[in-house]
Amino acid sequence: MIHFLKHTSITLTLSGLLMVLGLISVFTYGFNYSIDFVGGATAEFTAVAKNEQQIRNYVKKNYPSATIQKSGDNLFIKEKNITKEDAQKIANRFNGVRLGAFEIISPSVSAENITKTVTAFAVVALCILLYVAYSFSGFRYALAAVIAMFHDTVLLLGAWSLLGRFFGAQFDILFVTALLIIMSFSVHDTIIIFDKLKEEEKSGRYSGLEEKINAALTLTIVRSANTSITTILVLASLVILGGSATRWFSISLLIGMFLGTYSSPFIAAPMYYFLTRFFKKRA
């Protein structure tokens, strides 16, 4: 039996520090929002046939967050920070290429949709709380699972704020999807471990709560490791071999999957332990 709970103070302190660091970053640096959220401009370059690849390379180098779309003999560039002068300069660099329409584009995600999505996150958390409380017939399980999920979400947001600030990772619609995936996965992972813990509590092999938790974690650690390895195999190959447009998305999933796996034994289980002790003392 591995003594998981022995290292609780270290893991909880580490997680707490990282969460504070992440939140500081979110509040000071904010996010590198994509064009969907803040708007930008579209520029159309006509007659690009000869220079297509060079233009693509040039735009990619100077405007890493731009999307480039081909339509017939024209290229559409969508980018947050581009002025008409900039676009004209690009056109001038290439022989025969002209700047067609240049238009200011407003955010495609409305403020209303952002509010709705945030509400959806809250409703999801509430549903998880109620469902886990119901299916494990214990509110402490539910609270611990949601705390772990909250931990994963905050850390991923913090990581994204820092990656956005220093490496240009964008907060786009795909990242919102990644957040949803991580929330689902985090709870999925915690439920598997709690199921084993519930079984240990029923079997009565061990009398102490600490031993029960350690036994449950020891028995599920191989499964957790194997599941993580399989997801990491897929995501790592997407990060390394996949196209550049999806790389950041894969990275966000990779970070999230790691957090989801880590938080079940090292956040959810100790939280359950503390909550149980706390409520027993008060009872």
Partner: protein, 447 residues
Amino acid sequence: MKKNTLSTIILVSLFFLWFSLPPFSVRIPPMNKSTTIKPKTIRVPFLKKEINVSLPIRLGLDLQGGSRLVFLLDTANINKENIPDAVSAARDIIERRINFFGVNEPQLSLLKGGNVYKIAVELPGVKDPTKTAKTIGQTAQLGFSTYKEEVVKQGTQSATIPTFLPTKLTGAYLKKASLVFDQKSGSPQVGIQFNKEGARLFAEITKNNKKKPLAIFLDNQLLTAPVVQDEIKDGNAVISGSFKVEEAKTLVNQLNAGALPVPVRLLEQKTIEPTLGKENVQKSLIAGVVGLLSVVVFMLVLYGKNGILATISLFLYALYSVFIFQISGIVMTLSGVAGFLLSIGMAVDSNILIYERIKEEKIRTKDVALATKLGFNNALKAIKQANTNTLLIAGVLFNPFNLSFLPISGSVRGFSLTLAIGVVLSLLTGVFVVKNILWHVYKIDKE
């Protein structure tokens, strides 16, 4: 009994495999004749209908591209200070119309160049953008006018000139429009229901115009002018122009989405490449396949014989999903693929859970069949709970009741739909199919 279930699974899987293949023919040597193994369509004898059996999976703008329509908003007749409101209202109405017409995952953006406002609409894989452009670009302003005959006298001659006087009642007072059919002739009609204020106006108009025609205009074109029989107090009316079903349906959708506050004009129409870029999509596809293959190798190394079973269940999982995506016409975007990937992860997890539990039981008993059975059943509870939870999350995000405070369209919904389908399929292939195979291999009796 158990043999039957297993053979059914095999038959169904073979059918799905056949269905997912592109049309092809094979030359069998002794016959020396090309034999069609997979046709494009199949003729159903008694229905006299061709059924398309080679459906492509519909991909979103990011993966496949589509068409780009740009509409110019004519703001000439609008006060300057009202322009921003009118423009954003027009954008919302066009978005609603597109959703009503069942085009999934469109992308709308508002373009501004100087004082000229445009709306760019990007639609994934639409085959006939001209028709779509027409339906989403129509103003759909409904108007009601009373009829009046004016007698004009000129010298000794007098003539009656029929005129229509527009009333205050317009499509803006509409609560709901619906497609109805005339009970006698069966011809399609558009039923309309006014809101409270509209019902009051309608009652007033009908009261004052008994036995007179009431003209209904759509975008200043006379649709129909029925004669008012009696005062209508409940705010319900039926427009019985000479519609075809398709036209009536279109009008219903347009009315429900609301009339455009400004007229729009189609400026340009183009086909566009995937937003992610062709190269990117291809690369990521290869990367995904490499990733899945490494998972297969990992499972084989880890669980040996059971690893083969896990591989089979993963393969079936992919096959069933392709079938569902083919026949449902769900538009797959990258978010959707991500939801799908997540559910693959959970399918693998179900397998790992089962085999870890079986290993655990094998330590306690030498009887492999018993260990398999106990391990499987022990794993089932955790799998059920974890997947119910995921389905619950997908349910909230899909927002099936269109609750107004949750997202009702867009990528979140696309993601939740593929996630839910994935979870159900992973339970089917990772649990139900695996159980049947395990029970068959270890000759476990079903109680």
